[in-house]
Each structure stands twice: as structure tokens, then as C-alpha cells.
């Protein structure tokens, strides 16, 4: 989702508030500290029909972050996440792939994946998770399975899934079978796909 698509998906009243806030941030980047927490009250929290998977407050907050000048954006994103409530933290995580910050947002992903809040763990596994090392990424995928998160939220799942992830999933499947508890269908599907890939490589 590109910034102009997010802006176009917002209801008209929210667009007005966001445009005004963006102007303020362009003049005074520090204003984002006050505007960022207010975005949900100003723009609402409704899911956006034209931006599937995004809510109005998340999109508005992403646009505020996008308005920051390049030399402060990484530091401000870090501060807004650190001092944000759960919704603000999630909005920062969703916005990371839109920002020109290189690897600077990776510590935020690590923090989110350490939590037990499904909304934060899920938001950490979007496109920006490309910056996560393979071991961290695999642990996060397995954590999604434990937390009951749908694996469809994981960006480039099949592309990044590897033999090590297959071994980890197979181990979980075995434990679940021993305990008489089912594994989620999408996790079993991933395990089967990874096993198929492994067989094809052997052949």
C-alpha cells in the first residue's frame, strides 16, 4: 500500500485532519509527538474499504510518519513506538515499510515479537520483516502458530520458509499429535508444502 493510496482510502473528514497535521509536521517535526496519539480520535478506527487490512487510525498515523524529514524519521518512529499505547505501536510497525529508514526499525520488530499481544506480533511480520535474520523470523513464524495467528499475515511466507522451519514445524506437529491436540490447518499446510519442497530437492 503506497502513501497516496492510504490517503485516498480515508474518509473525507480524516483527509482534512491528516493534511492539516502533515503541514504542521513539515513546519515543526516535533509536533508529531502531540498529533500521533490524537489521530484515532480525529480520524476514527474504522477499517478502510479501499485499503484492505488497514484501519483509519493506522493509515493516518502512517501518513504523519511519512511527513517527517529524512534526518529525524528513524528517531521519531523509535520514540513514538517506545512511548505509544498498543494501537500507536501497531501503527508504527505497519508504517515501517513505507519509511526510508533502512534497518533502523529492526529493534522495534524484536520488541513487538517479544510481546504476547497478537496485534503487535502480527504487525511485525509484514514486508518490513525482510530485515529480520532467518533465525528470528522462523521463531516469529512458530510463535504465530502458537498464538493462533493466521499465517496469511506473514509476508513472503513460502519464499522464506526453509528446511529449518520445516524441522521446527514437524517437531511441533509431533508434540501436538502426542498431546492429542490439533495443529492449525494453515500450519499443517505450510509443513506439507515445505516437506514437498524438501522431497523435490532430494529427487
Amino acid at each position: 500500500m503506497k502513501p497516496d493510496e492510504l490517503r485516498a482510502a480515508l474518509p473525507p473528514a480524516a483527509v482534512g485532519w491528516v493534511d492539516e497535521a502533515v503541514t504542521q509536521i513539515e513546519v515543526d517535526p516535533g509536533a508529531i509527538a502531540r498529533l500521533f496519539p490524537r489521530a484515532a480520535r480525529a480520524c476514527g478506527r474504522a477499517p478502510l474499504g479501499d485499503a484492505p487490512g488497514w484501519t483509519a487510525d493506522e493509515a493516518a498515523r502512517a501518513l504523519l510518519l511519512k511527513a517527517l524529514p529524512g534526518d529525524v524519521v528513524a528517531g521519531e518512529a523509535d520514540r513514538l513506538y517506545r512511548f505509544g499505547d498498543a494501537d500507536e505501536k501497531r501503527a508504527v510497525l505497519r508504517a515501517l515499510p513505507l519509511l526510508r529508514i533502512g534497518e533502523a526499525g529492526v529493534p522495534l520488530l524484536h520488541d513487538a515479537i517479544r510481546t504476547n499481544d497478537t496485534r503487535l506480533v502480527g504487525a511485525a511480520l509484514g514486508p518490513y520483516a525482510a530485515h529480520l535474520d532467518a533465525a528470528t523470523w522462523r521463531q516469529a513464524v512458530l510463535k504465530c502458530v502458537f498464538m493462533g495467528l493466521p499465517l496469511s499475515i506473514v509476508d513472503r511466507l513460502d519464499e522464506r520458509g526453509d528446511e529449518e522451519l520445516r524441522v521446527m514445524l514437524a517437531g511441533l506437529a509431533e508434540e501436538r499429535a502426542a498431546a492429542g491436540r490439533p495443529m492449525a490447518a494453515d500450519a499443517t499446510g505450510l509443513l506439507n508444502r515445505l516437506s514437498g519442497t524438501a522431497l523435490r530437492k532430494e529427487a
Binding site: 509527538a33 502531540r34 496519539p37 490524537r38 484515532a40 480520535r41 512511548f83 499505547d85 498498543a86 494501537d87 505501536k89 510481546t115 504476547n116 499481544d117 497478537t118 496485534r119 502480527g122 510463535k143 502458537f146 498464538m147 493462533g148 495467528l149 493466521p150 499475515i153 492449525a184
Partner: protein, 283 residues
């Protein structure tokens, strides 16, 4: 039946308590920032606590369809520790959060000069951030502590209708009623109030501008005593509408003054990804 517990410390309760509260009819609550039994010695342990009140606790509550809100403040007990004075500087950041609906708990514990300074300063923060205030009254020397609290509130210039004076009893209720502040009662039998005494007070002083809470925390307390009080009110001749006024519309009116209560689809669990770790145990 719908119950709004306007004062409960869920940080100290288990996830099973959220489940039992939902089953008993609790649909919304306010969790005030207070002390944790073990004194804190740095600003950092306060910010981690405040972060939980606006992050982890709303998430836990949402698993059971309970709307969680918070009040944020430096509590009177810890206001006496100079190592915690810096907490006052970080409060404005939290008072801007969506689910923070008041400044609290503020007030007196041992009625020291430090407590009074923090109390007055935080009433000014409530005015500046357009929030109501939740005032805790002390366990020791309660009657004089309550009178002195009302005086500090009056001197601050905050509108009395935006203040609740909490943990009242038979001795302190009348002065608070006369002050124009809201009257708060904690059904916490050992030290504060019991359901039968609460029902008697409601008979005598009426159901207007009264908040009844469990104040359940890490002490000998019970998050279901709101429901027990509801049942006793009904058994004592109060109507369903009286109960709804005391246990829903009153807290909604009081905390609604923040403009930040989120109750629209209060019976539906917050939209989550399918399943969650709490119902399944941690991962």
C-alpha cells in the same frame, strides 16, 4: 445486566478473573494507576507500568469483550519518595492516550507536604488535559483527610463535578455529597465497604452521582463484589433501572467527561486475529 467497574487494578488479577468478571456481567472497567505493594525506586518502573495500563491490560480485557480504560498519575504513597518525583514529568505524554480517561489516583496517604504538592500539581494537569480526576482518600485519619482533599480540590479551580472522591464510608459520604464532587465507594470489606452497608448508603443518599467499584487489587479483595452488590440491591427493592444507573450510566457519565470512553460495540470483543495466546496460555 451490564456492569462498569469504575475502579479495579487488573494488573494484580489473573486472566481467569477477566473471564469470571465477563460471565458476571462486567462489560467495561477503569484501571487507576496506583502502587503495587512493592515500592518502586525509579521513573522507568513507572513508565513500564503505565505502558501495561495502555497496552497489555486493554489487550487482555478485550479477549473477554471487556472495555479497558485507565487513569494515570503518581500515587500519593510514592509521591513521598524523591526518586519518583520525575514521574510527574512523564505524565503529560500518557494523559494524551486514547484510553486514559482521568488523572488518578491522586490525593493523600499520610498527609505530608510532598503528597499535597503532587496532589495539587496533578489537579492542574487534569485541568490542562481536560480530564476528570480520581481522588483516593487515606485509610488513616480518613475523615480529616477527606475534608482536606475537598479543600485542595476547591483551591485548584477544577469543577467539582469532574472529581470523584473515592473509598468513602458512612462517616465521610455527607461532606463529599455537599462538595459537589462525585462519591466513590469501594466494596472491599476488610478496610472499606461491604455490600449490605453499601445498599444502606444508597437508600439514604440516593443513586445519583455515586460510583460503586470493587477496587480489587493484590490485597484480600474480589472483582465480583460489584455483581454481589447488584444482587443485593435488587433483593433490597431497588429496580433494574436503579442498578443500571449506579453500575453503568453513572460511570459512563463521569468518565465520559474525558471525551475518550470507547463503548460503542461494548458487547463485542475487540477485533482480533483469530485465536489468541491468552486463551491458549503463553508462548
Amino acid at each position: 445486566m451490564r456492569i462498569f467497574d469504575p475502579h479495579i487494578h487488573m494488573t494484580s488479577r489473573t486472566t481467569d478473573d477477566y473471564e469470571r468478571m465477563a460471565a458476571a456481567g462486567v462489560r467495561a472497567l477503569v484501571e487507576p494507576a496506583f502502587w503495587l505493594g512493592q515500592p518502586r525506586t525509579s521513573v522507568g518502573s513507572f513508565t513500564d507500568y503505565f505502558d501495561a495500563l495502555v497496552g497489555w491490560e486493554p489487550f487482555r480485557a478485550s479477549q473477554f469483550g471487556i472495555r479497558h480504560h485507565a487513569t494515570i498519575a503518581l500515587n500519593p504513597k510514592e509521591a513521598n519518595d524523591p526518586r519518583c518525583a520525575g514521574v510527574l514529568d512523564v505524565l503529560p505524554r500518557y494523559l494524551e492516550k486514547d484510553r486514559v480517561v482521568a488523572v488518578g489516583e491522586i490525593g493523600y496517604d499520610s498527609m505530608t507536604a510532598e503528597e499535597e504538592t503532587a496532589f495539587a500539581a496533578q489537579l492542574q494537569l487534569a485541568i490542562a488535559h481536560e480530564l476528570p480526576a480520581l481522588v483516593h482518600t487515606p485509610h488513616r485519619d480518613k475523615a480529616r483527610g477527606t475534608q482536606r482533599s475537598i479543600k485542595v480540590v476547591a483551591e485548584s479551580g477544577i469543577e467539582p463535578g469532574r472529581v470523584v472522591i473515592d473509598h468513602l464510608n458512612e462517616v465521610t459520604v455527607a461532606t463529599v455529597k455537599d462538595s459537589g464532587c462525585w462519591a466513590g465507594f469501594s466494596i472491599y470489606p476488610d478496610t472499606k465497604m461491604s455490600p449490605p452497608r453499601m445498599v444502606e448508603i444508597l437508600k439514604e443518599f440516593g443513586t445519583e452521582r455515586v460510583l460503586v467499584n470493587s477496587a480489587a487489587d493484590w490485597g484480600r479483595s474480589d472483582p465480583l463484589l460489584t455483581r454481589a452488590t447488584v444482587d443485593l440491591m435488587l433483593a433490597s427493592g431497588f429496580t433494574d433501572d436503579d442498578v443500571d444507573l449506579v453500575f453503568w450510566r453513572n460511570p459512563v457519565e463521569f468518565y465520559g467527561q474525558s471525551g475518550k470512553l470507547e463503548l460503542d460495540d461494548d458487547d463485542a470483543p475487540e477485533k482480533l486475529f483469530e485465536g489468541n495466546s491468552i486463551l491458549r496460555g503463553g508462548s
